[in-house]
């Protein structure tokens, strides 16, 4: 029998999800569970705690912060105040978790800069000091031994045939009859990764650095498929950095601690370069094979290299316009 009072509010035909409302409620629950398990639980917990009368103020503040962090927008579109608020929250959440302090900067681009990088193939001896420095500086996951930089050992006479290269060697270097080339994210001007990200979680800043908003990334890994240079890394699990090794000078778009399920990559050490410092890899290289600089400064060392040395870039034919040049003595 019809029951007028128990009528469900029907928007069946107008709403896209009309099917869900009409056909199969069981499926609804299952798919809801599957799809929103993690987020819904934590969000509900946040709401419950935040509205609870009995939970402590600390707990309420924490769940308020969790709520704000979950629902904040893309960093690119935030106002200055929103950015300050989010780094403040992140700093507080870290202190709460570990008792220690971090400094997360939201410093914007330095005007009149377009960062570029040059790598001297003749000078690299394969020491991998740059890799170590990068891992330490950027708080990369130690469990999966994540490394933004790869150093390829190539046999003399083979040319730049990377498929014949060894990027995980362990013997005395420089190895007789071989030369070395390092690769990392090249911060392309026409980056394929930024083009394909469905939520614009990765973009190129005004100073040329291609960055990722770790909290906006949904972890679809399309950018990883699109990158021709193996520049991007994915956190397949919760990244872990031992407490005493955490670099506490952080930037929101740079080396702040990431979470599982998000992408990350070389950011030209944005926390350093925007303060005028050289990236960690440049600083660590004992042979001076790496040069970093401002492409817009006609007197920079980088411009000198581009104008006076025989420079080339990798996979030039793909049209990605990387800002990382190689040269030889």
């Amino acid at each position: 029998m019809e029951n007028e009072e128990n009528k469900k509010p029907v928007a069946g035909r107008e709403k896209k999800d009309g099917y869900h409302q009409v056909f199969n409620l069981e499926m609804d629950r299952r798919s809801a569970l599957k799809r929103f398990a993690g987020g819904l639980f934590s969000a509900t917990a946040a709401v419950t705690t935040a509205c609870s009368v009995t939970a402590s103020d600390e707990k309420k503040e924490k769940s308020n912060m969790d709520w704000d962090e979950y629902f904040k927008g893309n960093y690119k579109e935030m106002t200055k105040d929103e950015r300050l608020a989010t780094v403040d929250r992140l700093e507080k959440m870290y202190t709460e978790r570990t008792g220690k302090n971090v400094n997360i900067s939201e410093k914007g681009e330095v005007e009149n800069t377009l960062f570029g990088y040059a790598f001297n193939v003749s000078k690299c001896q394969g020491y991998m000091d740059c890799v170590t420095a990068c891992v330490t500086e950027n708080n990369q996951d130690r469990d999966s031994e994540m490394q933004y930089i790869r150093i390829h050992e190539i046999e003399d006479g083979k040319g730049f045939q990377f498929n014949e290269a060894d990027d995980n060697y362990y013997h005395e270097v420089p190895n007789e009859g071989h030369f070395y080339m390092g690769t990392q994210c090249f911060h392309c001007e026409d980056a394929p990764c930024t083009k394909v990200c469905p939520v614009e979680a990765t973009w190129q800043e005004e100073d040329g650095i291609v960055v990722i908003d770790y909290d906006w990334c949904i972890g679809c890994r399309y950018c990883m498929a699109a990158c021709p240079y193996d520049g991007r890394r994915f956190n397949w699990t919760q990244p872990h950095v031992p407490e005493e090794e955490v670099n506490t000078d952080q930037h929101y778009l740079g080396n702040r601690l990431r979470k599982k399920g998000v992408m990350e990559k070389c950011t030209f050490c944005i926390q350093r370069s925007r303060e005028g410092q050289n990236p960690a890899c440049v600083e660590a290289c004992p042979t001076g094979a790496r040069t970093f600089g401002n492409l817009l400064d006609p007197n920079s060392e980088l411009r000198y290299i581009l104008e006076n040395k025989k420079v080339f870039r990798l996979k030039e034919d793909l049209g990605t316009e990387p800002k990382f040049w190689y040269y030889t003595d």
């Binding site: 009409v22 499926m27 987020g39 939520v199 679809c220 890994r221």
Partner: protein
């Protein structure tokens, strides 16, 4: 409005009552779904490292199944087109089944995408307005729009037709014909867009060729209707829904032509890769012959291609095609072969070798397989329910009683 409520009530009634085999089937599917959910919960808590994917091969079983199933969903239109546009009524009964299959396949696609995501709780970031949708630049953004749009069309049009018939009314062509025509073009659209996801990446030369989109369409129109034929066979066996042999034979014509075109395209690919191999052919070498001793996919692809060729040969010879048993075997072979060839036989080799030639092989883990079969069970479950309700309404067993 009360008709919809009554429909819900009747549907619930009809799907929870049935014969013993029906209950066993649904129980089995539920069990597999629970296994899948359990595996997925492990994946959510520990992260995607519980799968076999890695930085080297960052898309695996989930995206392979997604790619394949988009094709199956698009193929439902192959029945819609003749029925409504060409007014070939032999297809009429099969249409609702096809649409139901499309809905089930689409929901499976969405489920696979969500299973593959690193941050499913942040899915709302894709909704324009709430989040940001990188349209028109990102093909994934296009895919989200077209898939959801296709889902909407394939739910609303059959829903309208069913609810009319449920009430004993005749559905008004002025309402459903435009939707039907749009769905025909839209189906081609969803599969081309999904193909463009891969086709538009110069970093992966195995995918970056002009033939990928058309190949997707050809294999979709072979595998989709093949599945429909198998499903119709099951429906003929287990329900009173009248499916004429003529319908099945006509669908088999579509499968045949599509399978033949698929083979032609395959040969074109093989020629391009192996006549004058370049550094860009390495992925194909890995897939068909193995590279530097790594040959995990070689047995799979050769089996798949043999199945495809066998099936196409059976289908081509009309005496064999018209033998229903042989037809069903051929459809099964074709479906399985294309599942391999277009699934992980396409996605995984795209990543091998990597951008600097490094070879990282991929092997799905138990959890990955668990979630996959869970989602397939979910698809079968949804389809069974939709088909059951649809058939009951069409047979007049489910009627709206005031």
């Amino acid at each position: 409005m009360s008709a919809i409520v009554k429909l819900v009530k009747d549907s619930l009634d009809v799907t929870t009552h049935g014969t013993r085999p029906y209950h066993i089937w649904m129980a089995f599917l539920t069990f597999v779904m629970l296994v899948g959910m359990y595996c997925y919960s492990i994946q959510v808590s520990e992260g995607l490292q519980v799968t076999g994917m890695s930085d080297g091969v960052s898309w695996g079983l989930y995206i392979s199944n997604f790619t394949f199933l988009v094709g199956v969903a698009a193929a439902a239109v192959m029945l819609v087109l003749p029925t409504y546009v060409l007014k070939d009524m032999d297809f009429a009964q099969a249409v609702l089944i096809g649409e139901g299959l499309a809905v089930a396949a689409l929901l499976m696609c969405l489920a696979f995408v969500i299973a593959d995501m690193g941050g499913p709780a942040r899915l709302w970031h894709m909704i324009p307005g709430l989040g940001i949708l990188n349209f028109p630049s990102s093909m994934l953004a296009w895919d989200m729009i077209v898939l959801n749009g296709y889902l909407f069309i394939n739910i609303s049009i059959p829903f309208y037709i069913l609810i009319s018939r449920y009430q004993g009314k005749k559905p008004n062509p002025k309402i459903y014909i435009p939707g039907v025509i749009i769905s025909v073009f839209w189906a081609v659209g969803i599969h081309m867009v999904t193909a463009f996801l891969y086709q538009g990446l110069p970093s992966r030369p195995f995918w970056n060729n002009a033939l990928l989109g058309p190949r997707f369409l050809a294999s979709a129109f072979a595998a989709g209707p093949a599945l429909i034929i198998l499903v119709l066979a099951i429906i003929r066996r287990w329900t009173k829904f009248p499916i004429t042999e003529q319908t099945i034979k006509k669908i088999s014509m579509i499968v045949t032509v599509a399978a033949q075109i698929n083979l032609i395209m395959l040969f074109s690919e093989l020629f391009k890769e192996f006549y004058a191999p370049t550094h860009h052919s390495e992925s194909a070498v890995y897939l068909f012959f193995g590279l530097k001793g790594k040959a995990a996919l070689v047995p799979w692809i050769w089996t798949a291609i043999s199945m495809n060729i066998t099936a196409t040969v059976i289908l081509t010879y009309h005496k064999w095609r018209n033998n229903l048993t042989l037809l069903y075997i051929a459809c099964g072979l074709l479906f399985a072969g294309i599942w391999v060839e277009k699934g992980f036989g396409l996605i995984v080799p795209g990543f091998i070798p990597g951008p600097y030639g490094q070879i990282t092989e991929y092997l799905p883990t138990q959890i990955e397989v668990g979630v996959t079969i869970g989602i397939w069970a979910m698809g079968a479950f949804i389809f069974t329910i939709l088909a059951r309700v649809g058939i009951k309404i069409e047979l007049g067993e489910m009627k709206y009683k005031k």
